[in-house]
């Protein structure tokens, strides 16, 4: 140091004292400066009139609740929206012809009754249905929205959900003008849809956001900015967005023109915070700032220590180990896949490795919640029973080696997500295959878009994949392994599978359809097209006064539309 031996201690002492006093003065001045600065900023902020989030989690007096969401809804144009966040908000501010009821059935919404036969669907709209500006909702609004979703230049990613409408695909691919789409408004209150072919679950499709109405004059007046801001949307649902500060907050207030006022009790849903950080959300909940939050694995013990009421359910998504069936990959060999199936114990994965509440070990591509003919599909048609057997697995492995003409199975590439849970799962797969079969696995962690790119290009042997449902019918999962399905990224190609899927698509007889799905379930198992790993669970905490919050598998989730506040509850 340069300060050794340069002056006498007592001289330094007095200097330090004087300088120290001065420094203290500077310090005080700084504090005063910051105080003034804050005051100035506050005055400035109040002049600009920016939003203030100070609402309580549950406010019984104003019938208002505050919640947080993970990401800003990126797309509020219902014909273009594809993500869960937009879907959740749309579910609160929009309503279509039909909706998902609180007990997961299809019920009347804007349409008061409907009829669907093999060639046609007719919807009779209620005459008290109004847009948030007081204008009536008419059949023309649906015709406009559906045409708009299918117009090729709008490039809607979910347009395929409207293909059951006559000429839907042709319009979407630009082969026919949009006026040829098989939907017409007979009068303001009657909507008639011609169907491309008989379809068993058209009512369920109609409850999907892509089928929501849009009013043409309003849409045109927004100059291509429809859905970009609160004032650039028109609402048909129980709430309307009255304020939207991008990236920060959304305020949903009761829509005075909504037809079904009696079923709604909240006046306000204040989305006060937008953050993807689960721990931050838990802190907001703890600080009584939000009324609801989902929990991450790492927050679980913390939440339990608080003695909160923790609830669990499934979010409907199924995760599985998908194989690359391209002939130049060893995973195209059925015996190899069979060997893997016989050693991977998904109960061990779910109960001993990931240990997350709400998760269910996977037994089938068709999750437990799907509706069958009368009961749940999986109750009527249980998944094929798997008996783990290492010796049997080793026999299949030998067969595989013989068929492939190799002595040793080369290192398998397992494509995986970059989050901690995916890492844990892929490491488990790696360890099980190494110890039980002597197969080495290389884990390739990629962010979502790059994983998709690698899956599409076929640069993998196995991949941790997941599939979420669009509508409550087994077909939403059932056609995944059709040779023509673009989501079948492992290129599984089996004429028998294709035949079964076509049969399921073309049939409208419930029993016959479900038997076909049962056959698909069996074929997936026998041929080891994929290995079901688990059904994803969600764990969440709710403010004790907030009741009737619905966690949905299909449709907008989490659903607060029918929630109410009960201050006596605990």
């Amino acid at each position: 140091m340069s300060d050794v031996n340069y002056t006498q201690p007592d001289g330094e002492e007095s200097f330090a004292k004087a300088a120290g006093k001065q420094l203290l003065g500077f310090g005080l001045a700084t504090v005063v400066f910051f105080g003034l600065l804050m005051w100035g900023l506050q005055t400035l902020a109040s002049m600009v009139g920016s939003s203030t989030v100070s609402a309580k989690a549950v406010d019984a007096e104003n019938q208002s609740i505050t919640i947080a969401i993970a990401t800003e809804p990126p797309q509020m144009d219902s014909t273009l929206a594809t993500d869960a966040s937009s879907g959740m908000i749309l579910g609160h501010v929009m309503e279509g012809l039909l909706r998902n009821s609180m007990d997961d059935k299809i019920e009347a919404a804007i349409a008061e009754r409907w009829e669907i036969n093999a060639t046609q669907a007719t919807f009779w709209l209620r005459d008290d249905a109004r847009w948030s500006d007081g204008e009536p909702i008419t059949a023309h609004d649906f015709v406009f929205a559906w045409r708009s979703a299918l117009k090729p230049e709008n490039a809607s990613e979910y347009a395929f959900l409207l293909y059951p409408i006559k000429n839907g695909r042709a319009v979407n691919e630009g082969d026919l003008p949009y006026t040829e789409l098989g939907v017409r408004a007979v009068d303001d209150q009657t909507l008639v849809v011609d169907l491309e072919r008989p379809i068993a679950f058209f009512d369920k499709l109609v409850a999907f956001p892509t089928y929501l109405p849009i009013r043409e004059d309003f849409y045109n007046a927004t100059n291509g900015r429809f859905g970009a801001d609160a004032w650039e949307m028109l609402y048909s649902g129980p709430f309307m967005i009255t304020s939207w500060v991008h990236g920060s907050s959304l305020l949903l207030e009761r829509n005075p023109y909504y037809w079904d006022q009696d079923s709604i009790s909240l006046q306000q849903i204040n989305i006060g915070y937008i953050t993807s950080d689960g721990t931050a959300k838990l802190n907001f909940f703890k600080d009584n700032k939000i009324a609801f939050t989902t929990l991450l694995a790492e927050n679980l013990t913390n939440a339990m220590a608080q003695r909160w009421h923790i609830e669990r359910t499934q979010d409907g998504t199924v995760f599985f180990l998908d194989f690359n069936h391209r002939p130049d990959h060893v995973t195209s060999n059925r015996n190899l896949r069979k060997a893997l199936q016989l050693v991977l114990d998904m109960e061990e994965l779910v109960y001993k490795v990931t240990k997350l509440p709400g998760y269910i070990p996977g037994e089938s591509l068709f999750p437990t919640w799907l509706q069958g003919v009368e009961d749940k599909f999986r109750k009527e048609y249980p998944a094929p029973e798997l008996i783990l057997d290492r010796d049997e697995a080793l026999r299949h492995l030998e067969l595989a080696k013989q068929e492939l003409g190799i002595d040793e199975i080369p290192e398998l590439i397992l494509l995986s997500g970059d989050n901690p849970l995916s890492s844990l799962q892929s490491e488990w797969v790696q360890e099980v295959l190494r110890t039980k079969l002597g197969i080495s696995v290389k884990i390739d962690k990629q962010i979502f878009k790059q994983r998709l790119a690698k899956m599409t290009a076929g640069e993998f042997d196995m991949v941790l994949a997941g599939w979420g449902p669009d509508y409550d019918d087994p077909l939403t999962f059932g056609d995944l392994y059709a040779s023509w399905n673009k989501n079948n990224r492992g290129l599984y190609n089996n004429p028998e599978m294709d035949r079964l899927i076509e049969q399921a698509q073309n049939s409208v007889v419930p029993r016959e359809r479900m038997e076909t799905f049962a056959a698909i379930q069996q074929l997936l198992f026998d041929d080891v097209a994929q290995l079901p790993m688990y059904e994803r669970g969600v764990t969440f905490v709710i403010h004790p006064h907030l009741k009737n919050v619905k966690q949905r598998v299909i449709g907008a989730s989490t659903d607060f539309t029918r929630a109410y506040i009960d201050t006596t509850a605990y």
Binding site: M1, D3, Y6, T7, S14, F15, A16, A18, A19, G20, Q22, L23, T30, F33, F34, L37, M38, Q42, S51, T52, S54, E72, P74, Q75, D77, T82, P152, E153, A155, E157, Y158, N172, E173, G174, A228, V245, H246, G247, S248, S249, G272, Y273, I274, T275, D277, T279, A280, N283, F284, K286, D287, K289, K449, Q450, L452, A453, K454, K486, N487, R489
Partner: protein, 310 residues
């Protein structure tokens, strides 16, 4: 002076052009497809989307169009938020990041200079030891840990107090800014404290200070005029780039405190391969950084008369 500023601005523009070009080609070289999502697209839809974003054109044509648009100040439409312009995203969210960043840098600058001067004054004594220990902590603990601990302690303080003393997140009033800006500025403050301390120590033992003392100049004058003023110079040098660093690096703090700043869009855009937002934010932040460096150089000329701007 004017000539110097002009020269620096031209150099700055070249730097920004270089940043834009490098980002453009790096981004297109990253594996992955910006249009991919949960569900696979039909060929027709994909073709329509490519046409919408101009991705169907050859890469060099795209590059040309994109440079021309930047020159006009138009960054295009976001891929993920399809009806928002990148310009709007920057316009709405940069002020938030900037407010947070400026507060953080003021906090860091003031704190760094004061603590640095204090430690130099009491070198090798108890205040010095304590502060320097905290400084080492401040430099080595990453901001996501500080942010998480900061928020958690606030929750516990509010819990103990029984009322919300300070909001634990969100944005809108000055009260929302206090804790996040402190968290954001902490690392820089620690760094500046060290810098200020060593710079002070160097000055204290310099000849002109000794001369001033020998002349009998009052200690207060020596301290402010001779020591502080000279010691502050290196601090100002690093302040410029760290303003840019803090304003752009608030990603973690923004996520944890639910603040609608631009840093979130910057990082998320890369993960989602949102080409237009990546380009817009990178070029914007790049230009901002270059501007701050030029500004600091010019300020330097005023603070230190020995520096000639030519």
């Amino acid at each position: 002076m004017l000539k110097y500023a002009f020269k620096r601005i031209v150099q700055g523009l070249i730097t920004v052009w270089f940043i834009a070009t490098a980002t453009f080609f790096a981004m297109h070289a990253v594996p992955g497809d910006p249009l991919s999502g949960d569900k696979a697209l039909s060929d027709k839809t994909r073709a329509n989307l490519e046409a919408k974003y101009g991705l169907d054109k050859p890469l060099m044509t795209q590059y040309g169009i994109y440079l021309a648009n930047i020159a006009k100040g138009d960054f295009g439409i976001s891929f993920t938020q399809e009806n928002r312009k990148v310009n709007d995203i920057i316009r709405e969210h940069f002020p938030v990041s900037a407010t947070l960043g400026i507060l953080a840098i003021l906090f860091a600058g003031a704190g760094g200079i004061l603590w640095g001067a204090l430690t130099a004054l009491y070198r090798n004594r108890l205040p010095d030891t304590i502060i320097m220990f905290l400084v080492i902590l401040g430099i080595s603990v990453p901001s996501f840990v500080v942010a998480a601990i900061g928020q958690l302690s606030l929750v516990n303080i509010n819990d103990l107090a029984g009322v919300s003393l300070l909001p634990i997140g969100g944005w809108g009033t000055v009260w929302h800014m206090i804790v996040p800006s402190m968290v954001l500025g902490l690392g820089t403050m620690a760094y500046l404290t060290r810098l200020m301390r060593s710079s002070m120590l160097e000055i204290i033992s310099s000849d002109f200070v000794r001369t001033a003392k020998a002349k009998g100049v009052p200690p207060t004058q020596i301290f402010t005029r001779h020591q502080l003023r000279n010691a502050i110079l290196p601090v100002i040098t690093v302040l410029g780039p760290s303003i840019a660093g803090i304003t752009t690096g608030g990603f973690v703090v923004e996520i944890i405190f639910a603040i609608p700043g631009l840093g979130r869009y910057f990082v998320q855009a890369v993960q989602q391969l949102d080409y237009t937002v990546i380009m817009g934010t990178t070029v914007f932040f790049g230009a901002f950084l270059v501007f701050m460096v030029i500004l600091v150089d010019i300020i330097y000329g005023y603070v230190d008369p020995r520096v000639r701007l030519e």
